[in-house]
Structure formats: C-alpha cells, structure tokens
Symmetry: C2
Subunit: 86 residues, 2 copies
Amino acid sequence: MGRVVIDVMPKPEILDPQGKAVAGALARLGFDGFAGARQGKRFELEVEGEVDDAMLAKAREAAETLLANLVIEDVVSVRAATEVPA
Amino acid sequence: MGRVVIDVMPKPEILDPQGKAVAGALARLGFDGFAGARQGKRFELEVEGEVDDAMLAKAREAAETLLANLVIEDVVSVRAATEVPA
C-alpha cells in the first residue's frame, strides 16, 4: 500500500477570508511575526500497490476533477508520501 | 519574506466522513486503485524575515494552539516552504 499526498490551495488572486481570519487570530493570540496566512486542503489517498508515475498522473487527474475547484483553487502538489519531517 | 507550511490531518483513529466521501466519489468517477482517502488542512503562513528554528517553533506552537484541534487532529508537519515539485 502506498500513499499519495495532494495539496490544494486557493489561487493567490482569490480573496481568502479563512486565511485572513487565521492571520487575525494569530496576532490576537500574541503570535507576532506572521504577515499573512492562507488555508487550503491536504489529501492523503491510499493506493493499492506502489506509487508509480502512472498512479501519480491518475491522482493528479482525480485532484483536478474532484478534489479542487479549479476556478478558485490550484493543485499545488501531487507526490508520493514520504515521511515529511515533523 | 519566508513562508512556513503547516499540515494538519485528522487523527488516524478518528472517523473521517469527508475522507470516506472522497473515496466513494473517486470510485464512482471511475478512478480505481484508491483504497481510501483522508482530508486535512494545509496552511501557508507568511513570515516577516527568514524562517529559522525559532520561527518554526513559534509556528508549531501557533499550529497546536489555533490551527489544529488536538483532540481530533494532529499537526503532521511544520516546515519552511520550498518549491515542492508539482
């Protein structure tokens, strides 16, 4: 079993009220040094078998078809899950 | 200006209805080969200045305080944004 990680973010030019809310809350909670925030979605797809190029291409197609609204969002990354350092 | 990327996912043992819905929709749309799906959140925080260890520690604290509900979610990654290959 492999895993594919897909990151979807709002397009830069799109107003991101959620990101604005996060940035405001960070400041109110005393976390200074943050100039802005954007919030998107992260998907982990479990894959039967190994993650090869064909599977990554299928995952990208699935992301662009189902997981992202391409009018307002971009699929910024489609990759095999490796243990991203915490 | 630097950027910190924070990934938040539902805890593995927590029921993930959104993930179930995604997995079901993938199958219905003919994307076979996917055994399951989980959906979480991805944040990009704009940072004044460079992203150093102190800033990453502050971002992790902000994530655990504000961006994740630690009862049902885990902060799975806090890292300086590098151009993740699309």
